[in-house]
Structures are given as C-alpha cells and as structure tokens.
C-alpha cells in the first residue's frame, strides 16, 4: 500500500512536468506529418507499386492498418529514442541537480526503493507512451483512409514480409507489436536511467545514452560485425517486428530476444543502484 502511494507520487512528479505533455504534442504533430507524407502522390504511388509488385491489391492494403504500422515504426525509432533518453536521463540526475533528491533522501526510505520507484515509473511511462502513439496513429489513419482493408507489414532488415487480409488478426498483431515496442523502448530508458544514476548532469546522461545506442546501431552495419548483428542491442530491439510473422506467432524467437532485453534492463538498473548507493549527497 505504501509502495503504491509512493509509486503514485513518482508518477505525479513525472506527469506534473509540462515537458511531458509537450512530448505528446510533438508526437501527434510528427505522426500527422508522417501521415501526410504517406499520402503524398509520389510516396503513396511507390508504396502501392511495391504492393502490386508483390501480388497484393494496393487499394486493399494501402490501408489505415498498414499506415499505422509504418507510422509507429518510423516515429518511435526516429523521435521516440531521443525522447525516452531525454526523460530517463533526467529521472535521477535532474532531481540530484535540483536538490530534490536531498529532500527525498532525508526521509526514512532506502535508496534502492527510491530508484526502483523511478525505474518502474519510467518504464510505465515508456510503454504507455508507445501505446498512445499507436492509438493516435491508428485514429488519424482511420480518419484519412477509413477503417477497411488488410495490413502489410514489411522490413527488409528483419526479413519480414507479412500480409493480413482480415482486420481482426491484423489488429491483434498490431496491439502485441505496440506492447513489444514499449518493452524494447524500455531498454533506451534503462540505458538513460543507468547514466542518470552516475554523477553527471542530466543532459550528459541523455547524450551518453543516445551515443551508446547510436554506436551500437552503427557498429552492427560494419562488414566485420555483420555476421554478429543479431547480438547487437538495437537489433534485438527491432525484433518486435517478429510479432507479425505468419501464420504462427513466433513465441520462442520473441522470448529469446526479449528475455535478453529485459535482462539487460535489469542489469543496468542493478549497476545504477550500486553506483547510486555509493554516492555521497551533500550541499
């Protein structure tokens, strides 16, 4: 009960910031821009041509579901990674910088619990944010293209090409994918959180988190590392795309990759906790 009260306080702090809502607004605008881009004659034609080349009726598959899939994949990986690193880089370091942490640590609460509350809050925030992007992306796509049609999910890098003619199964996969993207994005938040626990400014924590992930993304494209690309963190973060594999849901592949990501998140949390535990807080 006390834990839930404290968790509520943590969420109150997180959602009390104006910047949190600015983020939602920015994402809505970004989704809208992507949606308009996909509607532009040249872009739309290329997409439809690609579908027809693959034996699909473009009128049926250039649908709200397909566009939602593309909007989620683009917006979250382009803007989401920056945004989640920003929020998680702030979560501890900003409170230390502003002196809030001293006020909290003057209370009879363990440092581990303070960090656990923050970590859970930032994970919940990340997952709900992704779901928000999914829902608003689909709502906008429905307004623009209508609710009918099937779904095409494709990703050359992940060797994915999946077709869902029916709305029900497509929506189910989309919903599972949104949840998995949320868990993937928690890894960005965990990296940001880890740096936030170290003795550094919030902006530095954010930059460090983004740098590590960017480096991971670049390195896997080097020819020397190409055979091992499946072991890179950002590659594993992209395995949410497996949720669209048909006809059977690839439980084993997803469990394999996501257990790695969750394990990594917990390891970063644990190391962050140890470092934080050893720090002195003084005026």
């Amino acid at each position: 009960m006390i834990f839930l009260k404290q968790f509520g306080s943590e969420l109150r702090k997180l959602f009390g910031r104006r910047r949190t809502y600015v983020g939602y607004g920015v994402f809505l605008v970004f989704e809208l821009i992507l949606l308009i881009t996909f509607q532009l004659q040249g872009v739309k034609e290329r997409q439809m041509e690609f579908m027809e080349q693959n034996g699909l009726a473009a009128d049926e598959y250039f649908s709200s579901l397909t566009v939602t899939f593309m909007v989620m994949a683009f917006s979250l990986f382009l803007l989401g990674s920056i945004y989640f690193a920003l929020v998680s880089g702030d979560i501890v370091a900003k409170e230390v910088e502003d002196g809030n942490m001293r006020m909290v640590l003057a209370r009879p609460v363990s440092r581990f619990r303070v960090l656990l509350l923050k970590f859970l809050a930032v994970c919940l925030y990340t997952i709900t944010f992704v779901i928000f992007v999914g829902i608003t992306g689909y709502a906008m796509a429905v307004v623009a293209l209508g609710a009918d049609g099937g779904m095409l999910a494709f990703s050359p890098k992940m060797k994915l090409f999946a077709v869902y003619p029916e709305w029900g199964p497509a929506m189910l996969r989309l919903a599972v994918a949104a949840l998995l993207i949320g868990v993937s994005m928690c890894t960005i938040s965990a990296v940001g959180f880890f740096f936030s626990c170290l003795k550094m400014k919030p902006a530095t924590a954010t930059i460090m988190a983004l740098s590590v992930l960017f480096l991971d993304m670049v390195l896997q494209e080097f020819p020397i590392f190409k055979p091992y690309e499946a072991n890179f963190v950002t590659y594993k973060m992209s395995t949410w795309l497996y949720a669209f594999e048909a006809p059977h849901f690839p439980w084993a592949k997803l469990a394999d990759n996501f257990s790695f990501l969750i394990g990594l998140d917990l390891t970063l949390f644990a190391i962050g906790c140890v470092v934080f535990q050893l720090r002195d807080f003084k005026t």
Binding site: Q6, R12, G16, R102, R107, P108, D280
Partner: protein, 303 residues
C-alpha cells in the same frame, strides 16, 4: 528516569571523512540531549554540512558512527530517520507542483500522512492561502516555511537544520527562531542547528559546537561564548590625543577599534578627548564575529 530519557538523542562519534583527498572531518564527536538545541557553528568548509549529511545517511563516513535515539544511521538508516525532520539552506522542491503536492509527495516517502494533519501543519507555518499555488511562484521565505512544514511531517522528535535562515530578511529570521523555540517548548523537540552566524546561534541554542577546518575547536554552553570585553569602533582625533587617552585609561587599540573591559564606560573616553580639544565623530559598539571568536580561540589555544 528511563534509560531512553538519559540517552543522547543525537550522537556523532569520532566522524572522519575525506573528499577527493581533502579531510573534511577529522574525528568530530558531539552529542545532543533530548529537548536540547545544539548549534553547530563554523564557516563554509568547516564540516557542518558533512556532519549533517552523515547524520542523515547521505554521506558515508570513512570511520565513526552517527546515531539518532540510539539507532545507528549507518546500520539501520530508515529506522533511525523515522524520527527526524530536516531542512536545508536551499530546499529543493518540485517547482512545477503546488506546495500541497510537494508535501504529499515528500511525506509519502515516510509512509504518508493524514490530510488533516497536513492541513494543520500548513496552517501552523502560515502557508494556508498559498499552499495550492506552484512552488515556483514562492518567495525564499515561503519556501523556507514550506521546508519547515515538510520537516514537521509526519511528527519528528529531532530536527536537523542546515543554515535554514540564510537569505531570510530579519523579520523572517525572527519568525523562524521563535517558531523553533516554541516547538521545543511545546514538544521537547531536539534540534541540531547548523549556522555560520554567531549571533544566530547565541540567540537560539543551549549549547554550541564550533568546527574549524573539520575539527572541533570548542564545545560548551552558549553563555560561555559571551564576550568579557566590549569592542567599540571609533572615529576620533587627533590620533596622538586619542592614543594618549587610551593609554591613560589602559584600553587597547586594535586598528579602528578599541577594546575595553565590560564594566568600563565609553563616555569617559569621549569626554576626555573633547575636554582636551579633540573631536569625536563616532563611537559605536562592534559585534563580535566568528572570525574574532576563532582568533581569540587560537590565541587562547581554544577554551
């Protein structure tokens, strides 16, 4: 008398701490009895905040131990801090939230408090009319009152105050001092008060511990600090005449100041100078500063 009544409420035992190779505390020990107000006096860097940090478990000592009501802060921090409220010089609130939300959030870390109690404390610190406003809109004085409110929740027996009156106007300082003294009178609260202002400590504390460069240089009753000499700032002339009068009275000159025994009358000096054709533009008492105190202690080898 119960054993718990005799036990010191706050204990610092041989605290040592180094920061980046520099010794911040060199084996400092002190105790605060139940219901006592102890002043921890010293300049910036003397080790006051480090001592307080160790008492709150925010700073790990290299050696030594701190205890609150017999419970070691290092061994069982949460239990020891359950009876403690703390105020810092610049309290870090969540500026984008209201004062009320800040209090709820901070008290939730202590297990939460009843809203009626929260409202009572807010009223007591005279913040009721602004408690729903964003803390970002508060003045420094209001922030300190909010800090006091959070320190009083859920109901501590010990208050640790780190230069809480810094930056307050004289009215604010008096309000704060009276509030703390009332608290002690009503609840028998034990208070550790960090300050670099000698006058502040003299007015509020029963006893004082003076730290200098991480070492305890004095511990005793505040009354023991009382100056047995009067110091005056003088603007008189001509200089030869002033020196002659001072020499006759047996008074000491320290630059612009003269030092005379407490029972001496400054009017004797003024009349002597004027009677002999000299002039006196100003004779005003000089308050003893912490520097003076340090100087006296180093001359006297401490007390």
């Amino acid at each position: 008398m119960k054993e718990s009544d005799e036990r010191p409420m706050i204990e610092a035992k041989n605290l040592r701490k180094r920061f980046a190779g520099k010794e911040a505390l060199k084996g400092v020990s002190f105790e605060v009895k139940r219901g006592e107000i102890l002043g921890l006096l010293g300049h910036n860097g003397a080790g006051k905040s480090t001592s307080l940090g160790i008492l709150l478990g925010m700073v790990a000592p290299d050696s030594g131990e701190a205890a609150i009501d017999g419970l070691s802060v290092q061994a069982s921090r949460s239990a020891a801090l359950a009876k403690v409220g703390a105020i810092f010089e610049s309290p870090g609130f969540y500026d984008y939230l209201s004062g009320w939300d800040n209090l709820k959030i901070l008290t939730n870390y202590s297990g939460g408090v009843d809203e009626a109690l929260l409202a009572d404390v807010v009223e007591r610190v005279e913040m009721t009319s602004r408690i729903r406003s964003r803390v970002g809109t508060y003045s420094h004085g209001m922030r300190q009152r909010l800090a006091l409110a959070q320190a009083l929740l859920p109901g501590p027996e010990v208050l640790l105050l780190d230069e809480p009156t810094d930056g307050l106007d004289p009215e604010g300082i008096k309000w704060f001092r009276d509030f703390i003294l009332d608290l002690r009178a009503e609840r028998g609260m034990t208070v550790l008060f960090n300050s670099h202002l000698l006058a502040e400590v003299e007015q509020m504390c029963d006893r004082v511990v003076i730290l200098q460069q991480g070492e305890k240089v004095f511990e005793g009753r505040t009354g023991d600090l009382e100056d047995d000499h009067l110091k005056l700032k003088i603007d008189a002339g001509p200089p030869e005449l002033v020196d002659k009068v001072l020499a006759e009275q047996g008074w000491l000159r320290q630059g612009e100041r003269i030092v005379l025994p407490k029972e001496a009358d400054a009017a004797d000096f003024t009349s002597s100078v004027i009677q002999r054709g000299g002039w006196v533009r100003e004779v005003s008492p000089v308050k003893r500063s912490l520097e003076d105190l340090y100087l006296e202690m180093s001359k006297g080898g401490g007390r």
